[in-house]
């Protein structure tokens, strides 16, 4: 397929980045496969995925560092393959390696970037360099050789370099890689602060904790394709439409058959000892494997209506269940990520087996994916390319 034959040009003023049907391979290895991605202006979008999912390649395609082999790429309405310089002038990039010149000083590194990005050399630029260094806390080391910097200082310098020319789009590829937790936290705070001026941020990471709380939109990549995209809250509510409460008890064997209570839509047993029970659907224990089915660390109970919780608790106590924990549970991004990936693996297995194999439910990572409801605004496998935009989630 040649470029732009299948997709009309996009001029989406609300989007900073639009990728539609982008293909990219290296030799026989596909890196991006019909990738669709829409990044709203002024948002923080986090690309999640395992190593080799295509996160870095996607950022490279966006800036035009790699020219996409097929599909449409638009950055602020411009095609990086045609208007590469204009696109790259508006981008600031921090790659997984800081990509700094170790033999030069921090100031020389920033000065070099200033010249390449068209700021030139002047007193004003020197002031801007000092201000950027001050902002990221490396001013005192600015005249030292970068080779003498710690990993954290290098990352800070790379961040300072990325914002020196005041870009509209920031791309961070695993910016906390190699940093200690304290430095990682500081860097993430800096990234968060950077977006206050309406800058669009795309961040690649495989560290889910980093994305939690930072991402306004997540895109889960797998083998070069987007499995799901949208605001985390929307994606979570599409996966877990019911309220979930985690219950634990001093006599946990009594938690195995909660579905008989009114208002309980589903029960998922949590904890070690249950992983081997592929195919377990939350039903009652039977002789023979009763010990294996005993919940060790409680159950996650899906409620058809959160208001039934007080009545449920009262009924459980009246039934002799000695509750030690009643905790409303909000699924984390990590839960979401694994749920999406598990669903994807399940879909692959179904397609390979012609749908004959029974799908395991829950059990392996502590959360159970309910039968997939049609997500709001979402699309299913085989549907038209899912383009996630602001306020719209897509699950492929």
């Amino acid at each position: 397929m040649s470029i732009d034959e299948s997709h009309p040009p996009t001029r989406d003023a609300a989007s900073a980045v639009v990728l539609r049907g982008v293909d990219q391979s290296f030799g026989d290895n596909p890196a991006l496969v019909q990738l669709d991605l829409t990044v709203p202006r002024g948002s923080i979008t986090v690309l999640l995925g395992p190593n080799g999912a295509g996160k870095t390649t996607a950022t490279r395609v966006i800036t035009g560092a790699i020219e996409a082999q097929a599909g449409e790429v638009r950055v602020f309405g411009l095609d990086p393959r045609v208007d590469g310089e204009a696109v790259r002038r508006r981008c600031g990039v921090v790659s997984a390696k800081p990509a700094l010149y170790d033999r030069l000083s921090g100031r020389a590194n920033l000065g070099y970037a200033a010249e390449l990005y068209g700021l030139g050399r002047s007193v004003e630029v020197d002031d801007r360099i000092s201000a950027a260094a001050h902002r990221f806390g490396i001013e005192s080391a600015l005249d030292n050789q970068v080779g003498s910097y710690s990993t954290g200082m290098k990352t800070r310098l790379a961040l300072a370099r990325s914002v020196l020319h005041e870009p509209d789009l920031l791309l961070f590829d695993e910016p906390t890689s190699g940093l200690d937790p304290e430095s990682s936290h500081a860097v993430l705070e800096m990234i968060h602060d950077m977006t206050h001026g309406g800058v669009t941020v795309i961040m690649c990471t495989h560290l889910l904790l980093e994305a939690e709380g930072l991402a306004e939109q997540v895109v889960v990549l797998e083998s070069g394709s987007a499995l799901a995209a949208g605001p985390p809250a929307e994606l979570i509510s599409s996966f877990w439409p019911d309220a979930v409460v985690r219950l634990d008890a001093a006599n946990p064997e009594r938690l195995g058959d909660l579905e008989r209570f009114a208002g309980v839509a589903g029960v998922e047993i949590v904890g070690t000892g249950m992983e081997q029970l592929a195919g377990f659907d939350g039903g009652t224990a039977s002789s023979g494997d009763e010990v294996a089915r005993l919940p060790r660390t409680g159950v996650d109970v899906s409620l058809s209506d959160p208001k039934v919780l007080p009545d449920l608790v009262a009924a459980l106590i009246a039934d002799g269940i000695r509750l030690t924990r009643v905790e409303p549970r909000i699924p984390s991004l990590e839960d979401l990520y694994f749920a999406i990936r598990r669903r994807h693996v399940g879909a692959l297995e179904r397609s390979e087996d012609g749908g004959r194999r029974l799908q395991p439910r829950g059990a392996t990572v502590g959360t159970k994916v309910p039968p997939p409801p049609p997500p709001p605004g979402g699309q299913t496998v085989g549907a038209a390319p899912g383009v996630a935009g602001s306020g719209e989630s897509t699950i492929v």
Binding site: S2, I3, Q24, S25, F26, G27, T57, R60, T63, G64, A65, I66, E67, A68, Q69, D79, R81, V82, G84, E85, R88, R89, C91, V93, S95, K97, P98, A99, L100, Y101, D102, R103, L104, A108, Y112, A113, E115, L116, Y117, G118, G120, Q145, R161, L171
Partner: protein, 290 residues
Amino acid sequence: MSNPEGPSQHRSKKLEVKWSRTWAIARTELRQLIEAKDFWVPMMILGSIFFIFIPLVLLFAITRISNVDAVQQISETIKILPQAAQDSVQGTTDQARAAYAIAVYLLAPVAVVVPLTISTAVGASTIVGERERGTGEFLAHSPASVHEIYLGKLIASIVPGYFTTIVGFGAYSLIVNLIVGPGSGGWFFPTNQWWILMLWVVPPFVALTLSLVLRLSARVKSTAAAQQASGLVTLPLIMIAYGVSTGSIYGSLWPGIIVGALAWVIAFLTLWRGMRSIRRGRLIGVADGL
């Protein structure tokens, strides 16, 4: 195999060069070289050996030698030179004539070997080095065009070799005039042929060599591989340049001028083609399956 960087119709064919960015790239490369003592100290020693130490010892020994037979043997070798070259040899004594011949004719290849060696060493690592250090990612994402990157790297590779050669040439001229001059009627060096060699013949050969070396540097996987491959490529060029330089020195002015002009034409063509070998993907190691 598919082109990992996409269809060629999207690649800009226009030569877009902003010289401010080109100089910035060249300057940054040179600043890194200046900081790399482990690189430039050996190169300075190399230049010193060829331009200062060897001429000093050789010419001093000849002009002060007391062994008449040895001097006569050297004088005999002058007869091998073309007649025009023999006629131009100056000196009132055999010693002076032998020293003159060695200074003007026999050490000419030094002027070629030194810049080619140094520029090759710099150029071989310039692009693959960016990739190995990870800084190629920064360049690939920057607004600098591939033409600017190529030219910046080219300038940064030429300057150290040619600068060393010019400085060495100045030192060599001084040594020759101080040691050989008194017996040859005063200061006579550089001769016209040497000016043509230094300003007209050597530069295009350096550019021609670098056009090949930079292409290699863009394609190979490591600096070590680039150095080895560059050595293989530049060795024949050094031999050709060696022959050309001695030829331009021995003959009249015209052969040097013509050879230099041809070298410039070939150098421009190879540089133009070499410019197209640089792609952003090669800076980050994703092109060619690197």
